[in-house]
Amino acid sequence: MNRIYKRLTVLFLIISVAGSLRAQDSTTTFKPFLEHRIIAGFNFGGTAPVGLPNTIRAIKGYWPEFTPALGYELSLRATRKWGAAVGVKLDFKGMGTKDEVMYFPTVITVKDGSSTGTFEGTFTGKNKTIVRNAYVTFPVSAVFTPNDNWRFSLGGYFSWKFSSNFYGTVSDGYIRNGGPTGEKIIVDEASFDFGRDVRKFDAGLQGGAERRVGKRLSVIGNLSWGLKPVFPNEFKGLDFPLYNIYMMLGVSYKI
């Protein structure tokens, strides 16, 4: 978390530097102004490990889920070329994947009333996972506008999760109770659901480019890279962290 705060601090420094650059531009008659934009698009990407662990042996399929993004952005053009933006957006991030794993460690916590048990084991076989998480995202960016047609932004974001799905099946394999030396149990198909375990918050870096295609309309691409694992550290369903890494492709409309 600290790391994220540091990055956000750096970002605000950039914004204030951008503000101070105003002085140089003020020789001409530039007046700072506010801009409002509606942004709509789709998120494509993955809730994925950064570098695949060696327990994942093959990726057999990948598809994006229905993951729209819709938001509003308020930006301040402080100088002719530099500014800052804040926004709020409804942000769905999701995907589906099919893969094959080997000796994949997992711990499933089972809560039944007041009692809590666990099942721990290593799975070898096929896996299908579907992720669809919905966030309210607050991006903060420094904005560089070199000319009338292009606009670039770089900054960070903070997301609050309001609904989460993380479920799937394991099939055509076996699980070993307790670990590699435990007894082997054949699994033809079993489902799992880790949706409730997804972390409430996400934060990370984001940046993008915008190309004007009409009077008020632009096409936009924005990459957001989560720096917080989507599952908390105490979650042991997967033994490696997953991050939200998504590219939003869409349009922005200046109002």
């Binding site: 990726i59 048990g117 109770n177 435990g182 082997k184 054949i186 480019a209 691409g221 590219m247």
Partner: protein, 356 residues
């Protein structure tokens, strides 16, 4: 519109990289199983069973094996090594512990298997000695010579994410005994969230002569409960003491209450031909069955009550050759169909098979 900008291309390439390549080299195999332990049939009174959960190789031997020893053929996990080597002769003329250590290909994991020669001297049980399974913490009764001939559904329940505590399992010991200090208590329990996913809403308490083959625990639970131990000759009667209190609400497989139905317990013994165990799928139907002794009425009993059940032989039953005896006890008669009443509680003690 023109999106041919390095940023976009780089991002797309990055995703392609993340999801299609980056597959690392396969990890070295961490598993260290004895997959099969093959012994010449002429030495065996029952099929070899490898208890993977407890790292034991259970051998049921004929007299000639004690005289000559055996040379088993052992197959381990690919890449793993075994010590002592598989070609060595196993002798049974001493009481020293015979063990095999299997080391995984990765070198990180070892599994030490103990050879256990199962030899049922007396067909009578008071359930005085119980041991705790080290990883899942369920109890099982052992014989005075420490061998294990009774099993239960506990190893299956352990896969459902129950708390690692003997009291969380359907079968355990109790000091509420008819004879001696302990008896066996079988209690029908509710399923867990995890077992519910598999459609299991109830675990009946069970206790049986035989083994639990974990391999089939999820795909074919009835095949996992393998009933029977090698038996010689003809049995006359199956006797013992039991006490039974059915749970309040009978439920069907879906977990829905069924009004008006009261749970009942089941206690029976089956004598059958062969060296391969019958299991939950065929214990009532196999044509290898020779004789059955069954408690006719599994209703409530407030105090320890004696039962004395005659073995009823099939007409023209052949009772020569290799035979096996199964005793199967459950706190819910339809527990094999995941029906019963949560809380049904059956105590059994002083069981005995009386030879003809």
């Amino acid at each position: 519109m023109n999106l041919r900008k390095p940023g976009f291309l780089a991002a797309i390439a990055l995703f392609a990289l993340l999801f299609t390549s980056c597959i690392k080299d396969a990890p070295l195999n961490p598993e260290a199983d004895i997959d099969s332990f093959i012994v010449d049939k002429k030495y065996l009174s029952g099929d070899v069973f490898i208890d993977q959960a407890n790292a034991k190789v259970l051998l049921y031997l004929k007299k000639n094996a004690y005289d000559s020893g055996i040379v088993p053929r052992i197959v381990v996990t690919p890449g793993a090594t075994i010590n002592p080597p598989a070609g060595d002769t196993l002798r049974f003329d001493s009481t020293s512990l015979q063990q095999y250590t299997v080391t995984s290909q990765s070198g990180k994991y070892h599994k030490v298997y103990t050879i256990e020669v199962v030899n049922i001297g007396t067909w009578a049980w008071d359930f005085e000695q119980w041991v705790i399974q080290p990883t899942s913490k369920y109890l099982y009764p052992i014989e005075p010579d420490s061998s294990q001939i009774w099993s239960s559904g506990n190893p299956g329940v352990s896969l459902a994410g129950v708390p690692k505590d003997p009291a969380a399992y359907p079968l355990r010991d109790t000091t509420e005994a008819y004879h001696g200090n302990y008896s066996a208590v079988l209690e029908t329990r509710g399923g867990t969230t995890l077992s519910g996913i598999m459609g299991i809403k109830l675990f009946a308490g069970s206790l049986y002569l035989g083994v639990f083959d974990s391999k089939y625990a999820i795909t074919q639970p009835l095949a996992a409960t393998q009933f029977g131990q090698p038996y010689l000759g003809r049995a006359a009667r199956f006797t013992g003491y039991y006490k039974y209190n059915p749970g309040a609400t009978y439920q069907n497989k879906a977990g829905k209450p069924v009004p008006g139905v009261i749970d009942s317990c089941s206690i029976y013994a089956v004598l059958y031909r062969g060296t391969t165990r019958l299991d939950g799928t065929n214990i009532h139907t196999s044509d290898r069955i020779v004789a059955v002794a069954q408690l006719p009425d599994g209703s409530a009993r407030g105090n320890f009550t004696r039962f004395d059940l005659p073995f009823v032989y099939k007409p023209n039953a052949i009772t020569s050759g290799s035979m096996m005896m199964a005793i199967v006890i459950s706190s819910s008669q339809n527990g094999d169909k995941y029906e019963g009443a949560i809380g049904s509680r059956l105590l059994v003690d002083s069981l005995k098979i009386i030879h003809e």
